[in-house]
């Protein structure tokens, strides 16, 4: 990881604030992360090849811990790191074709990535079906963002999707 560190520091120091996919792919831990490639793609939407610092930070910002502000102006734009935006980030990882729903095929893909190789196709499909069944409220066989959000309302997202030091 020290090679990428120096390259990135180099870039930062030269104010050439552009990252490319290779910078991310060089990170060893990402290579052994099942969702690694998808996450890299999330940083480079629409086949972009370079990432400027601002966009990078914007994505990273969504992982800030949420601040419970009682006096927040309800009409103000939603902060980047709100719970809803965190969920949206995750949702977009699943939903590759950006149609706003996680179809069965997309879910199977993600599950395939996250499960060990020894799981058979049948098992995979049955897990997918059950998962959709559990979450699907309007019976369309796919998971919309609302259903996604609803199924995860009990999870402590602040903990799972926040990096403290970003505060």
């Amino acid at each position: 990881p020290f090679a990428p560190l120096s390259t990135i520091q180099d870039k930062l120091s030269r104010l050439a604030l552009f990252f490319s996919r290779e910078d991310f792919q060089r990170i060893g831990e990402l290579a052994v992360n099942p969702l690694g490639d998808r996450i890299i793609n999330a940083f480079f939407p629409d086949d972009k090849q370079s990432l400027d610092f601002r966009s990078f930070i914007r994505i990273l910002a969504c992982f800030r811990p949420t601040v419970k502000d009682k006096y927040a102006d309800p009409n103000a734009a939603e902060p980047i790191n709100s719970r809803s935006n965190k969920l949206r980030f995750a949702f977009q990882l699943y939903d590759q074709d950006r149609d706003g729903i996680i179809s069965r095929g997309e879910l199977i893909q993600v599950l395939r990535m996250m499960l060990e190789a020894q799981v058979t196709e049948d098992q995979l499909e049955s897990i997918t079906d059950r998962t959709i069944q559990e979450a699907d409220l309007d019976g369309d066989g796919a998971i919309s963002f609302e259903e996604f959000r609803k199924s995860l309302e009990n999870i402590n997202l602040e903990h799972k999707m926040s990096i403290r030091f970003l505060q």
Partner: protein, 828 residues
């Protein structure tokens, strides 16, 4: 069938126990009794000459071998005891081994005492501090997961220093206060004596903590905190103990203000000095191991000798010896593991575990035996009871207060259940006992203190050790009783874990943790150059080492597969990837499994079984199956706290299989993304072939292991893909082979079309994970799969399917063996 075995095990263990006791009794009696006959035989030479001139064919001369014989026999008894205990699994899961050993010691002591009415074989402080404690602490330091240790160092220091001082002060003062009220009778002790007692009873003991926490399987972070505290509080204990001891000897009237000041200063001197000594010796050790290439057989010896010397040096300088040897182990880890050859590393690990485990067994057994000694017993109910109450009470308060303060500064919060475990897990052990025995015998209250300490130690080890596991389970189950995780939650929860660890890795790369980066840079630039062998330095790249490790695992598993198929007699136990729901032991890895089940980040783990037991019956069968399947097969998130520390087992982290699968999958996908750029269809087809060979080559590398071609230094620059080809969603690189060692050998390995391509096209595709200066060693299986292996691999064609095959192709042509430097953070 299992029941039979258990019953038989129970019966067998009973018999063995009886046998053991008989042996011990015999030993005890003979040790005392055979003093006599040998003296008789010894005296015969003094008698009339006629008797002694006869040549004795066989003589029994006990005194000649008395000392080593007794020592060896006691060690043997301890070892046998361990065997006996583990025969019955049911017992060992409920009762911690340390408790069993103490009880055994009591029984043995009782037998010996009954036979001879003398107390024999007490745990003398000399033996304890010089021979029994160092291996345990060294083992702790050497296997310490540095990243977590230093990550939590602030917390650990706070608990160790502030916590111990708090405990000592409050306990001592309270006891003093109570003694004033004469509840405890007339004790001939003043404030200083009580403070002294407080200081030695306050310290949490590393031996006991380790022994008990192993049974409980708390999460790694919690374990590190408690364990680190128990190690680091030695400095405080030493200072407090010595200061108060000298105060007591001098007499309370003669204590001057200057002495208090000196006490405070000495704390810093003792702790920092001890640490410095440890670091110096670690440096020496790493330096030495750099040059031991040719004396591999004695390499392990250096590790032990030098670490032990650090302990003794610190002891000589009246600094904290425990700190010295701990830091020696902590600091030398990395370099020793990089420098030593594979077998030496294994030898060191096993020897250390053996010594530590053995020492711990002996300590507990002797704790039991030493108690059977009428001379030291003074019973004072009130004092003992009050001590117990005070230490527990003040520990709880101390922990709660400190946690409350610390939580403001910590990234990962410490929750109630963590605090409960921490307070309850603050065990006292042999260190306290040894310290109390060291007290000046002229002190009138010494006997009382000794007896009280023994009782306290027994209480904490036995009672608290027995009950901590049920307590934790009860608490956890209580908390999560109403929660039944949905399939979705599990799945997405796991996905979130992966996402989060990925983001952390990314942002970690962009450089937070300033200090750690500074250190790693410093280490890389200077320290490693000095202390690591050349070959080890080259192979430090993390991804490469993952790859190498995977290849290694690949090779091992290939061999074991072959063995299984070939139905060879011996069984090679592969890693226990399958989660056995019924076995509590397997939950070492469960911290991540249960992470999905919890919505909070509490660090105490819970066995899967407890959740299962609460599942209501009308649940769909299939649902359970699905849940189980997810549980078993979901990839575990990168373990932030990957720790497999165990005194008694050397656990190989089994995340490698998962890593390997994901790695291969990822790389396959990335390779598929390579698209041709400017050169059109011709290039596409040619490239596809080249790509296949490249993929194959990735497995069998561009470089022969080390010898001929050490650094295939490929400097590559990143080229942003030109705007002209927007369809290229892939990765493009430019490779300028900087190595000037392009001789025929290389051409023999390289794809001939490779060099041709270089001239022609601007774009070369080499997977991004091949960065500068690396050598990749292919796995045996990989080589097998490639039909036309280059000639340089000919030495492998008689494929040696032996467990040493790894070394054979590592040794290759080079005199310089290529030690595998594993992931810097991997726990070995």
């Amino acid at each position: 069938m299992a029941g039979d075995r258990r019953r038989c095990g129970g019966g067998c263990s009973l018999w063995s126990l009886v046998l053991l006791l008989a042996l011990a009794a015999l030993l005890g009696c003979s040790a005392e009794g055979t003093g006599e006959p040998s003296r008789v035989t010894g005296e015969t030479p003094a008698g009339p000459n006629s008797k002694s001139s006869r040549y004795q064919i066989v003589t029994v001369d006990w005194q000649h071998v008395e000392d080593p014989y007794t020592i060896a026999s006691w060690v043997l008894v301890a070892g046998l005891a361990k065997i006996v205990f583990h025969l019955s699994e049911k017992v060992t899961t409920v009762v911690p081994e340390s408790a069993l050993l103490i009880v055994l010691g009591l029984i043995l002591g009782g037998i010996v005492w009954a036979a001879d009415h003398t107390a024999s074989f007490t745990l003398t402080p000399t033996v304890f501090f010089f021979y029994l404690l160092p291996p345990i602490v060294l083992d702790a330091g050497y296997f310490m997961p540095n990243r977590h240790f230093f990550g939590n160092l602030g917390t650990i220091l706070m608990y160790a220093v502030i916590g111990t001082i708090w405990n000592a002060a409050t306990t001592g003062l309270s006891l003093y206060g109570v003694s004033k009220t004469k509840i405890m009778g007339n004790l001939d002790a003043g404030l200083l004596e009580f403070l002294l007692f407080g200081s030695l009873i306050a310290a949490v003991d590393p031996v006991a903590v380790l022994a008990v926490f192993e049974e409980v399987h708390v999460n790694e972070m919690l374990f590190i905190i408690v364990f680190g505290e128990s190690l680091l509080n030695d400095a405080v204990t030493v200072v407090l103990y010595n200061v108060f001891k000298s105060f007591v000897e001098v007499g309370p009237e003669n204590v001057e203000g200057l002495d208090y000041f000196k006490g405070i200063v000495s704390f810093f001197v003792v702790s920092l000095g001890g640490t410095a000594v440890g670091i110096i010796f670690a440096f020496i050790l790493s330096l030495i191991t750099r040059f031991t290439k040719h004396v591999r057989v004695i390499e392990p010896g250096f590790v032990f000798i030098i670490s032990y010397l650090s302990y003794l040096t610190a002891e000589m300088l009246s600094l904290s010896a425990i700190l010295a040897i701990t830091f020696c182990g902590i600091c030398c880890q990395k370099y020793v593991k990089a420098n030593l050859c594979e077998q030496s590393i294994t030898t060191v690990r096993y020897a250390m575990k053996m010594l530590a485990s053995g020492a711990e067994t002996i300590i507990f057994m002797f704790l039991g035996i030493s108690a059977v000694n009428t001379e030291i017993w003074t019973w004072n109910t009130a004092f003992i009871l009050l001590t117990l109450v005070f230490i527990s009470f003040y520990r709880v308060i101390g922990v709660v207060l400190q946690t409350w303060i610390l939580n403001h500064y910590r990234v990962v919060q410490l929750e109630i259940i963590d605090q409960v475990v921490m307070s309850y897990g603050g065990l006292r052990g042999a260190v306290a006992f040894a310290l109390v025995v060291l007290l000046d015998p002229k002190m009138p209250v010494k006997k009382l203190f000794v007896s009280t300490t023994i009782i306290v130690v027994y209480f904490t080890v036995i009672i608290q050790g027995l009950t901590i596991k049920p307590l934790v389970n009860w608490l956890k189950v209580k908390r999560s009783q109403h929660k039944e995780p949905l399939l979705n939650e599990k799945l997405h929860g796991r996905a979130f874990d992966h996402i989060l660890s990925a983001i952390e890795d990314i942002s970690g790369q962009i450089g937070h943790n300033y200090l750690r980066d500074k250190w790693t840079n410093f280490d890389r630039k200077y320290l490693s150059k000095i202390m690591m062998r050349k070959s080890a330095q080259i192979s430090r790249d993390k991804i490469l080492s993952v790859f190498r490790e995977l290849n290694l695992k690949d090779a091992i598993s290939y061999v074991s597969e072959g063995e299984r198929k070939g139905s060879l007699a011996f069984i090679r136990s592969s890693s226990d990837v399958n989660v056995d729901f019924t076995g509590p032991r397997h939950s070492v890895v469960d911290s991540s499994v249960s992470a999905v089940l919890r919505e909070s980040t509490s660090e105490v783990c819970l066995d899967m079984q407890a959740i299962e037991n609460r599942t209501k019956s009308p649940k769909d069968r299939e649902e359970i199956v699905t849940h189980h399947m997810l549980q078993q097969h979901l990839y575990k998130p990168r373990k932030r706290y990957r720790l497999n520390y165990s005194r008694h087992k050397l656990v190989r982290s089994d995340g490698e299989k998962q890593d390997k699968e994901i790695f291969q999958r990822t790389m396959k996908k990335r390779l598929e993304h390579f698209k041709p750029t400017k050169l059109g269809n011709n290039y596409t087809t040619k490239f596809r072939n080249m790509k296949k060979e490249r993929a194959a080559k990735k497995k069998h590398s561009d470089a022969v292991p080390n010898g001929k071609l050490s650094t295939h230094s490929v400097a590559f620059q990143v080229k942003d893909s030109e705007a002209e080809d927007p369809s290229d969603g892939g990765i493009s690189f430019l490779i300028t082979p900087a190595s000037n060692e392009s001789d025929e050998i290389r051409a023999g390995i390289e794809n001939p079309s490779f060099s041709v391509e270089e001239d022609q096209s601007d774009f070369q595709m080499i997977p991004p994970w091949m960065s500068n200066e690396e050598t990749v060693i292919p796995s045996q299986r990989a080589r097998l799969q490639i039909p036309g292996s280059p000639t340089n691999f000919r030495r492998l064609t008689p494929l040696q399917l032996s467990s040493r095959s790894i070394d054979s192709f590592l040794l290759a042509d080079i005199p310089d063996e290529h030690p595998l430097s594993f992931l810097p953070e991997s726990s070995m």
